[in-house]
Symmetry: C2
Subunit: 576 residues, 2 copies
Amino acid sequence: MPAEVKHMKWWGWGDEGASFDISDRPGVWPYLATQLGITETEMTPPVTFESIQLPAAKRHEQFLTDARRALKPDQFRDDKMERLVHAAGKSFRDLWRLRRGLVSHAPDLVVYPESEADVVAIVTAAHSHEVVLIPFGGGSNIAGCLESKDAYGRMVVSLDMGRMNRVLEVDAHSLVARLQPGALGDDMEAQLQSHGVTLGHFPDSFLHSTLGGWIATRSAGMQSDKYGKIEDMVVSLRMVTPSGTIVTRTVPKCSNGIDVNHLCIGSEGILGVITEAAMRVHRLPERKAYYGYLFPDFESGVAAVYECVRRDLMPVITRLNDPFKTQLSFAFKQRTTPFKQRIANAMKWYLRHVKRIDFAKCCMMITAFEGEPAAFRQRRAEVNDIYRNHGAASLGDSPGRSFEKSKYDFPHLRDFVMDRGIIADVSETATVWSNLLNLHAKTSDAIAQAIRDTGSPPWVGCHVSHNYHAGASLYFTFGAAPHRGRELEQYLYVKKAAEDAFLKHGGTLSHHHAVGTEHLPWIEEDLSPAGLHAVRALKTGLDPKNIMNPGKILPGKNPIAEWGLSAKAIHVFRKP
Amino acid sequence: MPAEVKHMKWWGWGDEGASFDISDRPGVWPYLATQLGITETEMTPPVTFESIQLPAAKRHEQFLTDARRALKPDQFRDDKMERLVHAAGKSFRDLWRLRRGLVSHAPDLVVYPESEADVVAIVTAAHSHEVVLIPFGGGSNIAGCLESKDAYGRMVVSLDMGRMNRVLEVDAHSLVARLQPGALGDDMEAQLQSHGVTLGHFPDSFLHSTLGGWIATRSAGMQSDKYGKIEDMVVSLRMVTPSGTIVTRTVPKCSNGIDVNHLCIGSEGILGVITEAAMRVHRLPERKAYYGYLFPDFESGVAAVYECVRRDLMPVITRLNDPFKTQLSFAFKQRTTPFKQRIANAMKWYLRHVKRIDFAKCCMMITAFEGEPAAFRQRRAEVNDIYRNHGAASLGDSPGRSFEKSKYDFPHLRDFVMDRGIIADVSETATVWSNLLNLHAKTSDAIAQAIRDTGSPPWVGCHVSHNYHAGASLYFTFGAAPHRGRELEQYLYVKKAAEDAFLKHGGTLSHHHAVGTEHLPWIEEDLSPAGLHAVRALKTGLDPKNIMNPGKILPGKNPIAEWGLSAKAIHVFRKP
């Protein structure tokens, strides 16, 4: 029997028992509370597992008969915990409901395929009997891609890909690896590294997300500047659809009409289930290290990144925080020894009085380099020169080491603030270089104003972390004190302000988080009506009964209302 | 009134009057004639323009009324020359028929839109009245994409994009340019270069092809190793379809579901008409130069290219000829002075006796570098080291200059050999590095055997010219003495052998020439039945009446027979 597939805790991020440890970071809560005007902390922990009532599980007997004929008994699970951990992803809305025990929908059954043949059997049975399938990787999606709803009340099955978790083949000469879709990032990377190669894909969700999910959502990892976004890494793939299994050829590039790989990439489960992909891999770098820098302001930091892009001198990670995100990172500082504190104070004095850094405007940049030692040193020296010319002060490797240590911890922070009733989320986009500062300013203002509308002082920060020839991404984080009784609508109101700003000012609805249900109100404007029509045509053609992850990507007639934001809430927040 | 749109000669490649000048290349014809066992040259010139009978033009009066209401009179053309130059592209089959005056199909009308609004008006009218539209760029396609047929006998309109030929906007900071689709390569590049930027896309067809065509066919230029394939350069686009105008957003990357850019790229006109694209552009390089090298054999040349790819030390052009293609390039040598000939003889002596080059096995490599002078010198030195370690001898810049001078002339050679009755064409593919030598050997053998089957000694050569992380392209050229009375079937028989070998041995049906009609028999095997079904779904959804370039990409029920190769011909050639 295969090992049990590991899942995150049902109500939050990460493994059961793991959480954001504030004990040695005394500055975090005072900083956030001050920013959001919170004077008394009211704890809002999740309800107990026992108190949760799941809706009764539907059973489609003919489907179950077909499915049981093809798979082994231990591949089916329908106990309460299984249904609950597969009921949703980890979006703010998912967690807000789960923490309150508001579980109106959960899959009726969880199936663990162990091969493509298993997937074909389940998809065929589901298509025959009109049972809904929701492909499930690590469960980390924060755009509502995993909402286990069906508008027609059909039986819903979560297809957990966690047992299809092997590296099937590494072509070390071509540097192409055939991978199953279901291993969690660290498991897959460990298998690849035993062959001396890496995929180079390290999203913040790395420990809790999978290849299949990355491809289905057009994910980006923190080293995308070197290795590309996930869509750049796919050489070929296999996807089981209700109309047959799409199989593309493992060739580097071709001209075979419309690129069928790209019909599958980003399809968020609405067309089928990715069962395998051949991916570009890379030899392991000999050396890798992270460093911190402080830029005098956001503009100079952006200009430095831009120059690195233009001169083709990119580090492997370039993560530039804006002033507010920089303040937050300062507040994250760990408790330290008096001796270290004295050094830090001296450094601060130096930055303020010698480098003329204004701590209210300055911007933290985390930068990583990797490669064989000589190339590593050369690139680092070149980038240091560029940064220095843009006024940066080097902070050495201590902020870098701290980033490296905690680089997958950030999502835990949301549980921490949600424990304290805070409304907090992220919204990210991308735009061309000539519009980056404008979009940053306009969106920051729009989010801040929306939060003020809801009665809270705003906190909005942003970082730039994926850089391309034509432009870069902007990743916004925001927080608000709750508007009691209207928390979810408050969240949607603020989220709407962010997305409206993206589309009004030259961005896109998401750079790497997917459409899911969260971004349904903007997809038509993003793709244009005819572009959306093309996506619908694919859906209708491949999944005519709409059994594959229905309700994602393709919006209904009144997206904002279906999304959950009422005209009344808008009226309440945006006082006439 | 806009300037007249320039077209290639109706029966061959290039401008009227331009042709392949053999007068100072005395070795070409003796080499080819010897290889193909041709002892007596029989000239087979094209028929005269006057002798050609076009089928009578169909007129759909309601369509014409709608179209004339929207466009100006000078945007419509239906004279014989206009119909003839728009009747086909420049595939071997297109030209073989045209040269013999076998013009069974020609568009009934040519329309020259001058704006997206014009295109919308024509597409709308065509959709209403079921008139077929064939988007036409430079007319250079060699995969049958421009065959002006309609299986249902409807009126056929060629939509010549040549008047939509402007660079609309250059964002010099983001290095993104908004371009209309219809300028020929040199015109568009001249406009871009006046802004100090280049697209970096230089296919062999550069002088006679357009951006719209490049995007619609997933073209690759000779500097793709630096600038990417055309699909890598598209930031956003606009495409007018019978179901509305698709408009994507000008952002560097996104996660907005299925990538709608990629539904349009490679669509070969079967979904709509590309009316605009925002493309990545690049600052002009300060310096650029071409050099020649001679490798002891194909294996060592491939190993050298591979090492450049792996060490991220690519030149901007790397074109490695196999031994047969190298022989052909030797035969191309220009007549020279006695003094230069003496130097050449000395060089030959040195190569043979000092560098131990075997002229029957050696492989010519053309390599170009560009960039600011220091980077140029450094990269050239690094590549020279790699090449030397793989046994290469540097030939200096003389073969490079010769390549540079004639780099767009190669397609003229086909007219030259067709004037002499020879069956000749190209077939290209791509595969992963670990399979490159195998696919090269298997395909070379398969093509040679097929030519032998048809009664001719074979000539087959190949070059490697587009290199990627995972693999590279293989570009085969072949020639045969004609099998009298069965020339076209002979051509298809050999072409089939090439394509069969590609798909059997791990290649793809085309790396950058498109599907069109030429590759219809292999598209289902290439994409898988479900993959092809997905493409059909898009077609049905966006163009329900099948008015957009029908018969391309999507095969009928019996593709080989529809393609024109009879079972009888196969039987004749492949004697039992």
